[in-house]
């Protein structure tokens, strides 16, 4: 009949490996191939530049609302870098760089944010779910996919992303609880970027860390420096290995910072100080990682410049390909097809009604049609020959198409 402390049999740890000055804790340095380090660096840089370009396009009125990733490149890329192709990604709406790493075509990202549903197409063989806007809801899908994996006895894992704000949603709670109870191979990665629009992390929950929420579900939880790509990678690697070995889910809190606007519709000046942003600029994940790579002699300033310039060209091509695609899609309205596998009678009727109401376009004379077709062929040929960035995308899609889901695991 005592009053005594209960041993909860689990601790919450904090992990940081590479600090703001580029110094490293060598004991903790993860074992990563040089190629992987360089690929990660390139992806982080690409993520940053693509983000900037998107912001630009949006400000220029060419694109709708989107959520920039600036500052969170390490948190998302360090984590997905632990995944294999056969694994699954369940993103929220702020994982552009992670989605691209996992095979999403940048052109499609632009298309989707320009309001074309066609941008949402996910090719076969790429196991990414579409971006999820309703905060927190996707975490349950990751738990369920994890169960599917277990059920089918596959050696896959599933990783889901969400923000600090999402941890307040009931779905987050239910997802972690289900994952715990059914011991699914699900890695829950919280990008705690300190803000949920205008709500600071401190007002989202009274808990000291978000990582400790794992205790509520009896699953491992860890807090990492989310601007330290090595720490994120190391923590995610552990979690992925546990999951792949049938040891169940993990919750990772990446402490990072949203250096830009919430979305392009947001004005952060209303709720946070410039000083805070400046403080975090000093903790930038990219410059920190570059210092590390330079120390390791894997990267020089010269090379960084080269990569920057390659990325610039690549993005240019992507944007060009996107502009072209947009033109192609203009006037095409296919809104009736996607809702069901087969159109039910009433949708056939509505479609007919819709089409009968379209302004009638005058039939083009045959000659003009032929001319257009020829031009299109030419353009495609030119693309295949020269425009690498976009072209790779097209090829990738073509390759993926025939692969079945099951086969994609190999």
């Amino acid at each position: 009949m005592p009053r005594e402390k209960i041993d909860l049999e689990q601790d919450i740890e904090y992990l940081s490996i590479l600090n703001e000055k580029g110094e490293i804790d060598e004991d903790l340095e993860p074992d990563m191939k040089d190629d992987l380090l360089l690929d990660l660096h390139r992806a982080m840089l690409f993520g940053r530049r693509f983000d900037e370009r998107m912001l630009n396009l949006q400000r220029g009125g060419k694109m709708g609302t989107f959520a920039p990733i600036k500052g969170q490149e390490a948190a998302q890329l360090g984590a997905v870098a632990c995944l294999e192709d056969k694994d699954w990604l369940v993103p929220s709406f702020r994982e552009t760089a992670a989605e691209i790493w996992r095979g999403k075509r940048p052109k499609n990202i632009l298309l989707a944010y320009a309001g074309f549903s066609e941008g949402g197409v996910i090719p076969k063989g790429i196991n990414n779910l579409p971006a999820a806007i309703p905060v927190g809801t996707q975490t349950l899908h990751a738990a369920g996919i994890g169960y599917g994996i277990k059920f089918k006895g596959k050696k896959q894992v599933v990783m889901t992303f969400f923000g600090d704000g999402a941890t307040s949603e009931g779905d987050f709670h239910e997802a972690l609880n289900f994952a715990g109870v059914f011991n699914t191979p699900t890695i829950f990665v919280c990008q705690n970027n300190h803000w949920a629009i205008s709500i600071n992390r401190s007002r989202q929950s009274k808990s000291k860390t978000l990582a400790q929420k794992a205790i509520a579900y009896g699953i491992p939880g860890i807090q990492v420096d989310g601007n330290d790509v090595l720490a994120v990678y190391a923590a995610a690697k552990e979690a992925v290995e546990r999951a792949r070995n049938g040891e169940g889910p993990t919750f990772i809190e990446c402490v990072t910072y949203r250096m830009s606007v919430h979305t392009t519709a947001d004005d952060p000046k209303r709720y946070r100080s410039d000083e805070e942003v400046e403080k975090w600029e000093k903790r930038d994940p990219i410059s920190r990682f570059q210092k590390y790579l330079k120390r390791k002699d894997l990267l020089s300033d010269e090379e960084i410049k080269e990569i920057e310039s390659e990325i610039k060209d690549e993005i240019k091509k992507i944007v060009k390909g996107w502009e072209k695609k947009k033109k192609e899609l203009e006037g095409r309205v296919e809104m009736f097809e996607g809702t069901f596998a087969e159109l039910p009678a009433y949708l056939v009727e509505q479609k007919e009604e819709f089409e009968s109401e379209l302004p009638e376009k005058p039939e083009k004379p045959e000659d003009a049609k032929k001319q257009e077709a020829a031009e299109e062929d030419e353009e495609e040929a030119a693309e295949e020959a020269g425009e690498e960035g976009d072209d790779e995308d097209e090829k990738a899609e073509a390759e993926e198409e025939p692969e079945a889901d099951e086969e994609s695991e190999e």
Partner: protein
């Protein structure tokens, strides 16, 4: 052919589909060891094990979102909301994801899941256990909404729902669970989703209903024949959405007079859509206003008064007679 209750018939469908397709998984609160609070999933866990018949934590959004994930991955979850009155907790998962994943992923992913929910009044249940809100789901693009009325069509519709590549909300009229038996063939039987049925032919008046309300509706039709010599054509919708308006609009052209019956609240209820379609497609044939015999637009009372709330054969007959006299 055995004479089965609806509970047994649904149970049969689950047994057979799980046997046939090992991707079919049943999950929900108490569906496993307990066999479901209505025993609908009785025996499944013994036969198919815990991996395919899953007792889940108590969380409706959880069950639904988890099922969506399973379905995206390639399983065919049949999940249960213990009562439809708790299904609203899963509404955002169904609306935002189950109903849209096909569109959102450009066809790459789809959500072949069934969400079973016992619905409706008439069993002297507790608060929040007697609702009939099929209109919520029927109004949601991307969801199908099915309500059987007899053991045989419950079984056949559930088989179709499980095989459907898109999400199907499957309301089970709990007051009909054990109320009567019907011959149900042992061998496979399906009824296409999106198809209504004329269950009684007639020339004078069209009665439209579905689910538990088919019984008072048919009872009314019989009495009307006996007492008034009126021939009612009775239509069982079976699928609420995508609604099959072909039969009832044709019937109305023949009879010119329609009464419809549902236990859901009247305003903005399923009946309104039926009327809208009748006006759109049978306008010139209508000889009288269309009467709605429905639940009232109030909080459904506790069980002592629920039979005052629910449509009865008497209420239907009265509306029918007034429509005939119009």
């Amino acid at each position: 052919m055995a004479k089965l209750t609806m509970v047994q018939a649904i149970n049969l469908a689950l047994h057979q589909e799980m046997e046939k397709d090992e991707d079919v998984v049943v999950l929900g609160e108490d569906v496993g060891i307990d066999g479901g609070v209505f025993r609908v999933t009785d025996g499944l866990i013994d036969k198919f094990g815990e991996e395919r018949v899953m007792d889940t934590p108590l969380a409706e959004s959880g069950i639904t979102g988890f099922s969506i994930g399973m379905a995206i991955y390639g399983l065919k979850p049949v999940c249960e909301m213990q009562f439809s009155g708790f299904g609203y907790m899963a509404m955002h998962q169904l609306e935002a994801h189950a109903a849209r994943m096909r569109a959102r992923s450009g066809g790459r992913f789809h959500v072949p899941m069934v969400i079973r929910m016992p619905y409706g009044g008439g069993v002297k249940a507790l608060e929040h256990h007697s609702e009939s809100r099929e209109a919520y789901w029927a109004h949601t693009p991307g969801l199908k909404m099915v309500i059987p009325s007899t053991p045989r069509n419950a079984r056949a519709l559930l088989v179709s729902a499980i095989r459907d590549p898109d999400p199907v909300v499957f309301y089970e009229p709990k007051s009909s669970y054990r109320a009567f038996r019907e011959e149900v063939p042992e061998g496979e039987e399906t009824i296409p989703i999106g198809q209504s049925e004329i269950v009684r032919e007639g020339e004078d008046l069209t009665l439209i209903s579905y689910g538990a309300m088919m019984r008072p509706t048919l009872e009314a039709a019989e009495i009307l024949e006996e007492e008034d010599g009126v021939q009612c054509e009775v239509i069982d919708l079976m699928t609420i959405s995508p609604i099959d308006d072909s039969k009832f609009t044709e019937s109305a052209k023949k009879t010119g007079r329609v009464v419809l019956v549902h236990e859901a609240p009247r305003s903005f209820g399923p009946g309104a859509e039926i009327i809208a379609r009748l006006v759109e497609k049978s306008f010139l044939y209508l000889e009288a206003p269309i009467r709605r015999v429905t639940g009232y637009d109030v909080v459904i009372p506790l069980f002592q008064r629920e039979f005052d709330y629910l449509p009865s054969a008497e209420r239907i007959m009265r509306a029918a007679r007034e429509t005939l006299d119009f």
